[in-house]
């Protein structure tokens, strides 16, 4: 399972004889969606930070658009949109007659309220970064203006957003659920996070909120009036499941769908009425070099370390094949992925040794390489909690010893490790990124941002990143990112480990799902919950 790993690997796909098209959807029933982490009870689309709260929000609220399984934007509350020729504005045309669950009609006012709140000086959530490019947003956020010229309500069903410069990642950010302004506008923005509304949300979505019992379940019921048609199922339950009990819950039909970790796969594949899906995720794991340190300044050293690390063994043995070796920061699941001119750094300890020797490193008395009195010895910071990461670190330590590099492993609790990284008190550390739909690498890689942990600076890289977010033509943007990936692949501020894959299990009785899932999985990121149905 190298780079040639098929895009989507469906392990068990027990097809029923009747093709899906010949069956007519059945109405009714309860779909049970297993979750292993309790939602926090912040069911507000602009204030939540947890993925699990997001699952519920996505069903109770609608965004202007949604992202489909190919990661393309599709119309939702907005029946269409228009990007101006200069690329500076997006105009959304809303569906008429869309009702909130309390019967009030949704209009452009609600959309305006939702996005203005995100830009408000007292806003307590984390979405501001996505929209600060709107004209006047920074002044408004700073309290220097009372209006945002970049958000303009044209009429009840038309709203226009504009930026001073073309900003390609903007469109896919309009997925956040639209809030009912008639229920919230009178509350000061700073106090929104304490409202009872957040525990009893009212949106326009395909499901209405019924009940949240902490650490037990969330119950939603079909919205009979949903503007895109009533969901086929009557009830949608998010059921809390203990990690260890996942196979049993599937076996006992207590959940229809749940995410799996690799260790569950053998047990779950024994259940004949459950299908397992494996698909690429928009994520990757990495080890970051601290480029502020002299020993890592020379790219040859970082490249030699990459050649000297047996990542094939890491992915194939430690991860049991659940992953794809990564060599650049765009996952294969992204449209911006490119392998053109990308060096694969296949395991080659001899080459690694040779490169280090050419770079002037010679073995010292204890066998560890030295140069100008500097020993090639460093500490790898490993946040604990994952067995796979710990085994990876041990393998790395061993591999490095083979090429004359001494690595000390420092296992640390996650928050404590983050502290060290933020203070730049590390030689190397390992973590992972989950990326958003738009490939814009600015937030992680531009030399000006706080998340640029390695301290990576490269003129051309910054230039390409800035170009990329201004380019609205996807093909041209892809070319820009292809060149940028070559720079990162050569410079290696990170030693890339693997692109992530997601594994999930679905009961066969569930029909109308994506059986060849893209990165959003067989439910297409929850989008199919409103159309799937239950056979039996």
């Amino acid at each position: 399972m190298r780079k040639s790993m098929v895009l989507v690997l469906v392990l068990v796909l027990a097809f029923s004889f009747t093709a899906a098209g010949q069956q007519t959807p059945v109405q009714g029933g309860t779909f049970r969606y297993g979750i292993t982490v309790n939602p926090r009870g912040m069911f507000n689309p602009i204030l939540n930070t947890e993925v699990y709260d997001g699952y519920i929000i996505d069903q109770v609220f609608d965004g202007l658009i949604y992202i489909d399984s190919h990661l393309e934007p599709q119309p939702k509350l907005a029946k269409s949109w228009e990007i101006s020729d200069d690329g500076l504005s997006i105009t959304f045309y809303l569906h008429k007659g869309v009702k909130f669950h309390d019967g009030v009609e949704l209009t452009a006012k609600d959309v305006e309220y939702t996005y203005l709140t995100i830009l408000h000086p007292e806003y307590t959530g984390v979405r501001y970064g996505d929209f600060k490019v709107l004209v006047g947003a920074e002044d408004y956020k700073g309290g220097n203006a009372l209006e945002v010229p970049g958000i303009e309500v044209i009429d009840d069903y038309t709203i226009k957003f504009s930026t001073a410069q073309p900003y390609a990642p903007l469109l896919v950010s309009f997925t956040y659920g639209i809030l009912p302004s008639h229920l919230l506008a009178q509350t000061p923005v700073g106090e929104l996070e304490t409202l009872a509304f957040n525990l009893n949300p009212i949106g326009t979505g395909p499901f209405k909120f019924v009940e949240f019992l902490t650490d037990q379940h969330v119950i939603l019921e079909a919205n009979e009036e949903y503007f895109l048609g009533r969901p086929n199922i009557d009830t949608l339950v998010f059921q809390k499941v203990a990690e260890d009990a996942i196979p049993i819950y599937l076996q006992q039909k207590r959940v229809d769908f749940i995410g799996l970790s690799p260790e569950h796969v053998p047990q779950v594949s024994d259940i004949d009425f459950v299908d397992i899906y494996v698909y690429e995720a928009l994520s990757y794991n990495y080890m970051a070099f601290n480029l502020r340190l002299d020993k890592f300044k020379d790219a040859a050293v970082r490249q030699a370390i990459a050649y000297g690390f047996d990542r094939e063994t890491y992915v194939d043995v430690i991860r049991e094949g659940f992953g794809i070796i990564a060599n650049a920061p765009m996952p294969q699941a992204s449209w911006a992925y490119s392998d053109e001119g990308i060096n694969s750094y296949s395991y080659n300890p001899e080459l690694a040794k040779k490169m280090l020797a050419e770079a002037g490193w010679t073995p010292g008395k204890d066998g560890v390489l030295t140069k100008d009195g500097m020993r090639l010895q460093f500490e790898l910071l490993v946040p604990d909690g994952s067995r796979l990461t710990e085994q990876m670190a041990l393998l790395f330590q061993q591999n490095m010893e083979d090429i004359g590099i001494e690595v000390d492993l420092m296992f640390m609790e996650f928050s404590a490790a983050v502290d060290r990284v933020d203070a730049r008190e590390f030689d190397m550390f390992t973590m992972g990124w989950s990326l958003s739909v738009d490939p814009d690498p600015y937030a992680i890689w531009h030399s000006s941002v706080p998340w640029n942990d390695p301290g990576f600076y490269n003129d051309r890289s910054d230039e390409l990143i800035e170009l990329g977010r201004k380019e609205t033509d996807q093909e041209k943007r892809k070319e820009i990112y292809a060149e940028w990936q070559q720079i990162i692949n050569y410079e290696l501020p990170y030693l890339f480990l693997n692109y992530g894959v997601t594994i999930s299990a679905m009961n066969e009785r569930v029909k109308g799902i994506d059986t060849e899932p893209g990165p959003l999985g067989p439910l297409a990121g929850g989008e199919l919950l409103r159309s799937l149905w239950l056979a039996e």
């Binding site: 049970r32 984390v126 902490t214 809390k240 049993i248 207590r254 928050s415």
Partner: protein, 319 residues
């Protein structure tokens, strides 16, 4: 006795609790990591937004300021709001999980005592018999085996292999909440949590009863021709139970702290998962709230233990 109680509460309890909170808050805040560390998972977040969040949560202040702010609110009966994205009142978070934790703890205490005492009596009555050896062996195992291991073992056996009990968790949405339902969901976690109690109660009971049995007044009872049954259950047992009863108070803390672990294994909807999550996320108000509540419970437990001495043993009086 009232005077004693007041003295315990005001001269001892309150200063100890206060000292405990200072120490705890201090330890929590000096621990590396910050309540906003988890925002790292949001790539598009702004540096200023994080600073703003720190100010909103009040964690940009020094330790004494933070502590006194917290204390002032607590004295007004407000445990503050959770630092996580929900910003829910800590008291609500505790209230909605407390019943499940109490249900589990009380069940495990009942199980521990209901099984531990008879087993201990049997073991003492038939001292050095085969039965006694078996019981002492299992009591020893019961004390030594960590609860998380025992819990997984039970899960494997009863849920996976025999499929007679649910694999942890609680009622499914829509499932009727019957008494038998509770029994089904409670059995494995209560047994796991109760194992240590069963084992230690059995051992205490055995040694306590053996000690009483060797007393002179029991020889007298036997000498005057009483039946062995009467000797044991009427004369010996009542005296042997005194030290056992007082253990209740002392066991409460360990039961509650054990519940945190057991709840996590069985996905029991109690305080356990909240506590562990709060620690991982450096959620100060939630950690403080839960620990304060446990501290109060432990304090009440120790008072109950003291009072129960006086209750069961007429020789002890609190003046």
């Amino acid at each position: 006795m009232w005077k004693y109680l007041l003295r315990r509460i005001f001269l001892q309890g309150i200063p100890v609790l206060l000292g405990f909170t200072v120490l705890l808050y201090f330890v929590i805040t000096i621990a590396p990591g910050s309540p906003v560390s988890h925002l790292r998972g949001v790539p598009n977040i702004d540096g200023e937004v994080i600073a703003q969040r720190e100010a909103q949560l009040g964690i940009n202040e020094s330790f004494p300021v933070q502590y006194f702010n917290w204390l002032r609110r607590v004295l007004q009966g407000d445990l503050g709001r959770s630092f996580d994205s929900s910003r829910r009142p800590v008291i609500d978070l505790i209230k909605e999980r407390m019943p499940a934790t109490i249900l589990l703890s009380v069940s495990s205490i009942i199980l521990g005592w209901g099984i531990g005492i008879p087993v201990g009596i049997l073991s003492a009555r038939y001292q050095y018999s085969f039965l006694d050896y078996i019981i002492t062996f299992f009591a020893f195992v019961g004390i030594s085996v960590p609860s998380f291991f025992f819990g997984l073992l039970l899960l494997y056996l009863f849920a996976l292999k025999l499929n007679v009990l649910p694999a942890g968790g609680f009622f499914l949405a829509g499932e009727a909440r019957t008494f038998m339902g509770y029994v089904r969901y409670l059995t494995l976690p209560a047994l796991t949590l109760g194992l240590g109690t069963i084992a230690s109660i059995a051992r205490y009971m055995r040694s306590s009863l053996l000690e009483v049995i060797s007393q002179d007044y029991l020889r007298t009872a036997r000498a005057k021709g009483l039946k062995e049954r009467v000797v044991i259950y009427k004369h010996a047992l009542r005296n042997a139970l005194i030290p056992i009863l007082t253990l209740v108070g002392f066991m409460i803390p360990s039961i509650f702290s054990g519940a945190v672990i057991v709840e996590n294994i069985f996905a029991w909807p109690g305080l356990g998962s909240l506590a562990i999550q709060a620690v991982n996320e450096r959620n100060y108000p939630v950690m403080m709230g839960i620990n304060l509540m446990f501290a109060v419970l432990i304090f009440v437990g120790s008072i109950i233990a003291d009072l129960s001495y006086a209750l069961v043993d007429p020789r002890i009086r609190y003046e």
